[in-house]
């Protein structure tokens, strides 16, 4: 269920280092993963790092991050959490999650594009070498050699993206004022509500868990292609996303080319879910079956 952003970099790394990339399989439309096999897999295979998403952007599954990290840590495996889909939608506390690394991109939490965050525990950051070189990241430079600053600074070569960082902080403050817990409650409520309402539509195939879910619903409606549906809904004031949601392997596995997805945030309301349901009902009529 990984977004391409948490898949392709590992493919590239594996190619470069000769490492093997293995997956825990998603087994059905609900995005079920048999987490009970995680411990065995981590202990019987020479696993170095476990990377996984907190919230699936195409299914709405919420993965038990703290529990997964605990199992991984006990097996001596480093963890990286892709929190791109969750940072703007839920309270996140890296100390409680006890992950080794956590990443997110700012544009998914009301911030500017072109900036993201990599969190890493200090001891691991100290062990790691810089991957980019330039100003700011050095402590001492001679004609023969250079030494790096410690901690995160050694990974920030050159003049930083100052405007982006200020925008990032402002967006974070904004979300804190609204309250991450309040955002999460609203998201989850609307996600459940939308799932329940839409499950009443004949011919709909809903993805993701039936129970607790993040604030999104992803679906295929009859034989209507997602992009036709998105265009139809757009003309009626409902913004959906259509496509593979940067989840091509998962879509292929589920036998889908694309889905339409409605995702919710703190500004969305129950009325809009009703409107969405009506629009989808009328789309079935418009496109026929």
């Amino acid at each position: 269920m990984e977004h391409h952003a948490n898949l392709i970099p590992w493919q590239m790394l594996a190619q470069r280092t000769g490492a093997f990339l293995e997956y825990l399989a998603v087994t059905g439309d609900e995005g079920e993963i048999d987490w009970s096999q995680l411990e065995t897999r981590l202990r019987t295979r020479p696993v170095k790092i476990l990377a996984f998403t907190h919230i699936s952007n195409s299914l709405g599954c919420i993965n038990p991050v703290a529990e997964i990290c605990r199992v991984a840590r006990a097996a001596g495996v480093t963890t990286l959490v892709d929190a791109a889909q969750s940072t703007g939608h839920a309270p996140i506390n890296v100390q409680e999650l006890e992950c080794d690394f956590l990443v997110f991109s700012r544009h998914k939490c009301c911030g500017p594009t072109g900036i993201g965050v990599l969190y890493g525990v200090p001891s691991l950051l100290e062990e790691m070498s810089p991957y980019q070189f330039g100003g700011e990241m050095i402590s001492r430079v001679t004609y023969e050699f250079a030494e790096w600053k410690s901690g995160p600074h050694r990974f920030e070569a050159g003049t930083p993206h100052i405007a982006g960082v200020i925008g990032l902080a402002t967006a974070l403050d904004y979300l804190e004022r609204i309250g991450r817990t309040a955002i999460q409650e609203n998201d989850h409520y609307l996600g459940r509500l939308a799932y329940d309402r839409l499950s009443g539509l004949p011919g709909i195939r809903l993805l993701g868990p039936r129970g607790e879910r993040a604030g999104l619903v992803s679906f295929q409606l009859n034989t209507i292609h997602a992009h036709d549906l998105v265009a139809y809904a757009d003309q009626r004031g409902i913004a959906l996303r259509g496509g593979h949601h940067c989840n091509q392997p998962l879509m292929r596995k589920l036998g889908l080319q694309a889905t339409a997805r409605a995702s919710f945030y703190f500004y969305n309301t129950e009325d809009e879910i009703d409107r969405l349901t009506e629009v989808l009902q009328s789309a079935v009529q418009y496109f026929g079956t």
């Binding site: 292609h225 036709d228 003309q235 496509g243 091509q248 879509m251 080319q257 694309a258 496109f287 026929g288």
Partner: protein
């Protein structure tokens, strides 16, 4: 409404009941069109005579209504044409969707796709099958 102009009856009809849908056996030439942004795939099969006339053309694939209809209409329009004439029609068609031109009469029912002009994000949908045709006809 602009939307209904995009999804005209003829478009919806061709998308639901695409004409010339299915494969052609070799030695028909086969070429694929793929749109990475949506995952739509169209495969075009072309059989030509020794004089380079498109004797038969079929297609398969899964795609949105605009793409299915455009490809279906395309098969009807290019059958019986030479490769040169088919590629010329492709050029007319793309110009019609992307430029301010008076659509030539040779476009026939392809003019039903004119609604795409107001939805430029659907241009790739309308031209995917045509690009596959171009690959098929220009293969060595």
């Amino acid at each position: 409404m602009e939307f209904d102009e995009l999804y005209q009856t003829i478009i919806l009809d061709h998308s639901k009941r695409p004409r010339n849908f299915g494969e052609l056996p070799p030695p028909a030439i086969k070429a694929e069109g793929y749109n990475p942004s949506c995952g739509d795939e169209i495969t075009v099969f072309v059989r030509r005579t020794v004089d380079d006339v498109i004797e038969d053309i079929h297609f398969t694939g899964q795609a949105c209504a605009i793409c299915m209809a455009s490809t279906s209409l395309m098969t009807g329009q290019v059958k019986g044409k030479t490769s040169v004439a088919a590629l010329e029609l492709q050029r007319f068609f793309i110009d019609f969707l992307t430029k301010e031109v008076i659509p030539p009469a040779t476009l026939g029912n392809l003019r039903a796709l004119g609604g795409v002009k107001k939805f430029p994000q659907r241009l790739k949908c309308a031209t995917l099958g045509w690009h596959a045709l171009e690959f098929a006809l220009t293969q060595k």
